[in-house]
Amino acid sequence: MSTATHRDAAEIGRTAKGPRAVPLLGDQRAAGNLSSVDTTIGNGLRVLAVRKANVPLVELRLRIPFAGADPLHPAMAEVLAETILTGTARRDRIEIDTELALIGGEVNATVDPERLSVNGSALADGLPTLLDVLADVLTSASYVDNEVGRESARLVERLAVSRTQPRVIAREALLKHVYGDHPVTREMPEAEDVAKVTPDAVRALHARAVLPRGSVLVVVGDIVPESVVSDIEKALQGWQADAEAAVLPPLPAVTGRDVLLVPRAGAVQSQIRLIAQALPRTDPRYAALQLANLAYGGYFSSRLVENIREDKGYTYSAHSGFEFTGATATVGVDADTANDVSAAAVLETFYELGKLALVPPTEEEVESVRQYAVGSLLTSTASQAGLASQLSALAAGGLGAEWLAEHPARLAAVTVEEVAQAALDYFAPVRFTGVVVGDAESLAPRLAALGGFTVGEPAQS
């Protein structure tokens, strides 16, 4: 590229006609109403079936509350999730995979401290097979010894890989710092616990905890909701139990206190993770708080991103968002930054919290986040998979499709004053705590200068 063959940067950036005006928005059409059924079938399972027929697929999301107080529970639950699809009374592991593959299907199981999730999808005409495999797994997963042994060994290797990920290290440190030894902190089991899990223990856990009552199944796709509900009722009639699936004990409220600097010697980047108590979606003030969060760090045009990424270049990504657990919610702030700017990034992050609480969002800011909240809801629910995941998350909080349909109106009704009040009540810096994980030698002196920092491992705090 020689300089003779191209314009310079200034020439490129201007035209004879000059700057032009941004076009106005046109009229917006609302999303069409979706036909749906939300019901509880005979075995106590709530079923939410929605017709969305853009493509000939079906998406399935099953959530089973799956809490446990046993210290070995996280390890047993993780091994159960890894092996629930490895064989049943009627099918071995390869037969399950083959039958699903032939209908273009996938099923996977994951577990966290709150619930066991079994998610699947297939070509719509394969739904009978998908339901048959699901029922088979729920009622007769066999957990044969060699599958449990081999998957446990793989799990130990995967845990080793995960625990070297900075975001995983930071997540574990944050949860321990905030919730002590509440079961919610045990998102990943300890490797030595996994080694103790026997096939018998997994079978016993399945028998007492994989229960329909209290669980929710969401089905979205090229389906007829009414007939799908009766298909599900038929397919799952063998899945019966009187007990309720186990719900996680309530979380203690997060209160503001010192941020913990967790040393990670030699790290080239630090993880900043802050957290404060927030409001669940069922709260009448949730919509206002949702807008306040967006204005803070919940989307790219937020105050936090503009400050520490676009203005100062401290980070590739900075973000704030809600996490919903049981009947409660928290708001978290995260950014990953180079060592020499980490303390400055923390300063700016707290500065923006204080500023949001004290210098209310302008009308323009509120209109921007309002449009974004409505638009991103439209976009995220425009696909079958997106809609299924949204509905599943809502259903876990006792909500349904009507909440999605009504939410744009709730967002439209929020006033600028309500957003300002939510910001003051929930984003004040004193409400926050959290962790910074990084190279303590380079970070500690500067963070100490900011105040409100303790150095240490979270287990000891």
Partner: protein
């Protein structure tokens, strides 16, 4: 797709329209026919750095305005840099279609390239590299680490994220030259998909893009180079990885001019590693077991995103007491078996049914449908090919897959071994 859904403006901009009224949202994307394979030597990472700069303002829009306008219209946006193209997109409520077209047109016509924005985005990109590569186990594996083993020439072998020294030396004049060479309308494809009325969209496209001046598209470069004459090996020490890993890279048929051969490789990848019943999963994960995870695929970011030459890769993470050669010889044996005895009909059906479902699922997400149509227009000159892929894949025969397996030869491949740094693993 109907014939009138594609047209070309006088300035050379190719346009693809794909109306779909099922949800009130619209996707707009622009693909530029330049990726990191076109970077000048000494400017590794430049195409990606430039992608960042294209969001930093234009004649009508100050810095940050692009993000604000998209998001305050209810939309989302992003861009990404690939070996052979760079894409930009917005997905918005359909009322914001004209705005999205305006935004893309304004930066195609007159982006604001300033020293401040360049310096700021060099910092941001360096943080992105720290986040995704330097501070993470298996960062850059295999997409940054494998190409320099498999390829000899700068375009194919270099780091597409870039070296810090190269990034820091990028100048504003480099940016200007890059823009004038590659970011002309004749070197781009505009795609609009979703909820809109085609005639109205065409008017709006003429209105906003029509006066972006014509500049010639750069002549198409070939990145061809011969496959390795033997097996080439290299190793990389990863300070964060707890377990060793292995990547095998092979050259594969030209994705554009030998599409059916390329698709046979995709089916082969599925037969090898897709699902518990696949050949390498069964043997290496469940039966023997030698590896924690194994995967195979065409293209280091996925299929259909590069011209020739493209890479077929097999990657595995394995226990420290398993040697890379044990994994390699098991892979070679399975490939030989497939080459000698073509797969069963049911094995192919499993792979092609899963591909059909995953293609439907991709088309259902507006953002991937928009980007897919744009990249198929750019690379293949045929956006509707995207909708025919499932049938083309279903037509791949067992003999085609056997032939593809036979072509993955041990004496013409790259082997990259990732070794954990001693002491770090626990």
């Amino acid at each position: 797709m109907p014939e009138n859904s594609r047209f070309t403006l006088d300035n050379g901009l190719r346009v693809v329209l794909a109306p779909d009224p099922t949800a009130p949202v619209v996707g707009v994307s622009v693909h530029y026919d330049v990726g990191f394979r076109s970077e000048p030597e000494g400017r590794t990472g430049f195409a990606h750095l430039f992608e960042h700069l294209m969001f930093q303002g234009s004649e009508s829009l100050e810095k940050l305005a692009h993000f604000k306008i998209v998001q305050s219209s209810g939309g989302t946006f992003n861009g990404s840099t690939h070996p052979d193209y760079t894409d930009y997109y917005e997905v918005l409520p359909s009322a914001a279609l004209e705005r999205a077209l305006f935004l893309e047109a304004d930066r195609m016509r007159a982006p604001k390239l300033t020293p401040e924005n360049l310096a700021n985005q060099i910092d941001v990109v360096k943080e992105e590299i720290r986040l995704n590569v330097l501070n993470r186990p298996y960062g850059g594996f295999p997409w940054i680490l494998l190409p320099p083993v498999l390829y000899r020439t700068f375009p194919n072998a270099h780091n597409g994220y870039g070296d810090f020294t190269d990034l820091e030396q990028a100048s504003l004049d480099d940016c200007a030259a890059f823009f004038d060479t590659y970011y002309s309308p004749a070197n781009a494809v505009l795609t609009v998909a979703g909820d809109f009325e085609p005639d109205r969209a065409r008017e709006l496209i003429e209105k906003h893009f029509g006066d972006v001046p014509y500049r010639p598209a750069p002549p198409k470069r070939s990145f061809a180079e011969p496959p390795p004459a033997g097996e080439v090996r290299d190793s990389h020490t990863d300070p964060h990885a707890p377990l060793p890993a292995l990547a095998i890279g092979y050259r594969m048929p030209d994705p554009i001019n030998e599409l059916d051969g390329y698709l046979a490789n995709l089916v082969l990848a599925g037969v090898l590693t897709d699902g518990d019943g696949s050949r390498l999963q069964q043997r290496l994960v469940h039966r023997e077991p030698l590896v924690t995870d194994i995967g195979a695929g065409a293209g280091l970011f996925g299929p259909f995103e590069a011209r020739d030459p493209d890479t077929f890769s097999i990657t595995a993470i394995h226990a420290p007491d398993v040697s890379p050669d044990r994994v390699l010889s098991a892979v070679d044996e399975e490939l030989e078996k497939l080459a000698a005895n073509p797969p069963e009909a049911q094995e192919l059906q499993k792979v092609t049914a899963r591909w059909a479902a995953s293609l439907h699922s991709e088309h259902d997400r507006l953002v991937s449908r928009t980007l897919g149509l744009g990249s198929f227009e750019l690379l293949y000159g045929d956006p509707s090919l995207m909708y025919r892929l499932a049938d083309r894949m279903a037509a791949v025969t067992a003999a085609d897959v056997a032939a593809a397996a036979k072509a993955l030869r041990p004496d013409s491949r790259a082997v990259l071994v990732v070794e954990p740094e001693n002491g770090e693993s626990k």
